[in-house]
Symmetry: C2
Subunit: 395 residues, 2 copies
């Protein structure tokens, strides 16, 4: 079908022509309830309810939803659908099920998570049940074993490189917004609050920091270890009780595993800066994340199955896996720092700072995030344990 921006009426017509989707909804098309719930920066999202079931329909717009003069290729929906297909067998139950993808409409139709809440909102509201981070650790570990070189023949990774390297429109956002803009004068950077001007200026003139950011740029662009979600922050996770789901894989690209880990950790650390009284519970979430991630990955990689490390027996593999996990840990620390800085002074900031009671508290929270972020970027590359990373955060 030729592309056009859907509204509730035209979406209803389209769904009515799809037998499998109509059947999932049940009843007559006229009786389906359709409401727009667009919330992210880039796309329109509709929830459709029928007598038998519900669907979530996500359509790419030809521009950034919240900035209509910023054009954005529609193909990102294709990459998101590819990502869902690539990791679905490994993370069944941890992401919404993909029901259909329409190549012309750039429309994803997936399982509707009606009862779920965005993790960031739940955290801000103080109602996120503990333990969600262990699920995210499992999620990342499973995507790595399904899409990396250690458990799969090398052709799997090669095919993923072929399928995802064209996702340049969204990778350009990562390169600019995460890896570059916060450290230079740039029109996209919002005007900082007055008290933060010196801190922002310092980021733009700190040569040691710039060199360390350069090393992370290198890691992000050249180290293609596994298929990344690419935007794994607390706004890309939904939960309902213990049911935790990862959404919004449109930034997917092959890259360093520590990138997904670092973005996730960075968003917990940002929340901590805004809500320092929650230190104990957030530290526990961070520990649970790394523990479930590293244990699941270690055990999966020990079995192997790929061309990489195929020569080594159990002892050799143990050593290689340990070294791989140490590389991930270091990358994670650095990317965590990048995420903390860009979400504090860059184009897309986090709502968590709204938790601060006063402007002065908010300023201090932001300054702390910038300071921890810098420390993680500059010193992350020499860490040897997760405790070391936590101590860079003052935990």
């Amino acid at each position: 079908m030729t592309y056009r921006i859907l509204d509730a009426a035209s979406l209803r017509d389209w769904l009515a022509q799809q037998p499998e989707l109509s059947q999932r909804l049940g009843g007559a098309a006229a009786d389906w309830s359709i409401r727009e719930v667009s919330d992210g920066n880039l796309n329109t999202v509709f929830l459709v309810d029928g007598v038998a079931g519900a669907l979530c329909c996500k359509q790419a717009l030809p521009h950034v939803r919240v900035a209509p003069d910023w054009p954005m290729p529609l193909e990102r929906a294709l990459y998101e659908s590819r990502y869902m297909r690539a990791v679905a067998p490994a993370v069944a139950g941890l992401m919404p099920e993909l029901f259909a993808y329409d190549t012309g409409l750039f429309l994803i139709v997936m399982e509707c998570l009606t009862e779920h809440e965005v993790l960031r909102s739940a955290l801000i509201a103080g109602r996120a049940p503990s333990g969600f981070s262990a699920v995210i650790g499992t999620y990342v570990a499973r995507t790595v074993q399904a899409t990396g070189w250690i458990n799969q023949p090398f052709e799997t990774g090669a095919r993923l490189l072929e399928q995802f390297s064209g996702n340049t429109a969204l990778t350009r956002i990562t390169v600019d917004l995460i890896l570059t803009d916060p450290y230079r004068v740039c029109d996209r950077n919002p005007e900082p609050e007055a008290g933060l001007l010196d801190d922002v200026k310092a980021l733009q003139t700190d040569e040691i920091l710039h060199r360390a950011v350069g090393r992370l740029q290198d890691r992000f662009l050249t180290v293609r270890q596994a298929l990344l979600h690419g935007d794994l922050h607390t706004g890309s996770i939904m939960l309902h009780g213990t049911d935790v789901r990862v959404i919004d894989g449109e930034f997917a690209t092959m890259g360093p595993v520590g990138f997904d880990c670092g973005l996730y950790l960075g968003n917990l650390a940002l929340h901590l800066c805004a809500a320092p009284h929650k230190a104990a519970e957030l530290r526990a979430e961070m520990v649970a994340f790394w523990q479930s991630f590293s244990e699941e990955l270690r055990s999966a990689l020990q079995n192997g199955g790929g061309d990489m490390w195929a020569l080594s027996g159990p002892a050799g593999r143990q050593d290689l896996v340990a070294s791989f996990l140490k590389d991930i840990l270091r990358d994670m620390a650095g990317f965590c720092g990048l995420e903390m800085i860009r979400r504090t002074v860059g184009f897309a900031q986090v709502a968590d700072y709204g938790l601060c009671g006063t402007a002065q508290e908010r300023l201090l929270a932001r300054q702390k995030a910038l300071q921890i972020g810098r420390t993680l970027i500059v010193e992350g590359g020499s860490q040897r344990s997760f405790d070391g990373v936590l101590s860079l955060m003052g935990l």
Copy 2:
């Protein structure tokens, strides 16, 4: 045109229908002289002479030329033509000019290097004029600046990843023949001469070596720094006096720069094992290679132009470039060792050993290559200078 295996007659008919190519040859089609000169393992090659000029026509066969029961996808010719197009602007005059590529025939038509000789043959015959390695160093440095992330917007590397990651049939050869087979029992490995049996057995049971090979497998598969030639041995280089050309880019893939460097260096080192009296001149070639490579690359990367390292000024860049060159050096040492071992006991061995006067000399030469190869693989990763790498070779 539908694929069919060309002979001299059908090639003449096809060329006669290509106005631009006919014009390059000049005169009547019936007067063109066509001779087959197939020499490599994989393809048929014809040289065509006319009154105005000459052409080299290289066609992919659906199987390995020297092993007809080993099927080999034709697409490798497509990747070779893509490689030539991708690097041509950077290395004009250092590779044959590409005149045409026929997608149906999987046929490359290029500049004919009638007066040139394969470097390996020239070395064996003792008639390679000194200085060729400096040209190869320049060649590799220029391909890196044209296809890597440091001098180009990241979209350049992303497009190359998209275009070359499908070259899995030939990368599979690299993964098997270079990175795995020599270290395990495998039908493809030829039966070693009696005196080498213990050495071959040792390669198959050396856990420290296997772990180090595992690290190089990791580097080869995950570190995508620039577009590699992928098979840069002395049989992939032709020369005539000071005119040096790189041919046979069908193994092209994005990978670690040290892979191209290491394969080249490894073939010089193999020649040295077979002809130890040439130590001084071969050492000089190795030094010239690294000097021209590292100096040209250092100066090109200092200027930048890519997203990577864009934040850093001259001092920061100098530091980042130095660290990049050190990584290349270490990878180079390791891949050099892998090449030495696989060309000594693996599927495709080198003719250089024919220089040995007696069977005993040949055995000692091979043992020396295996010993140096192992040292380079195990200790290459901790080298800090090119002199350090040379000393691992006993130079």
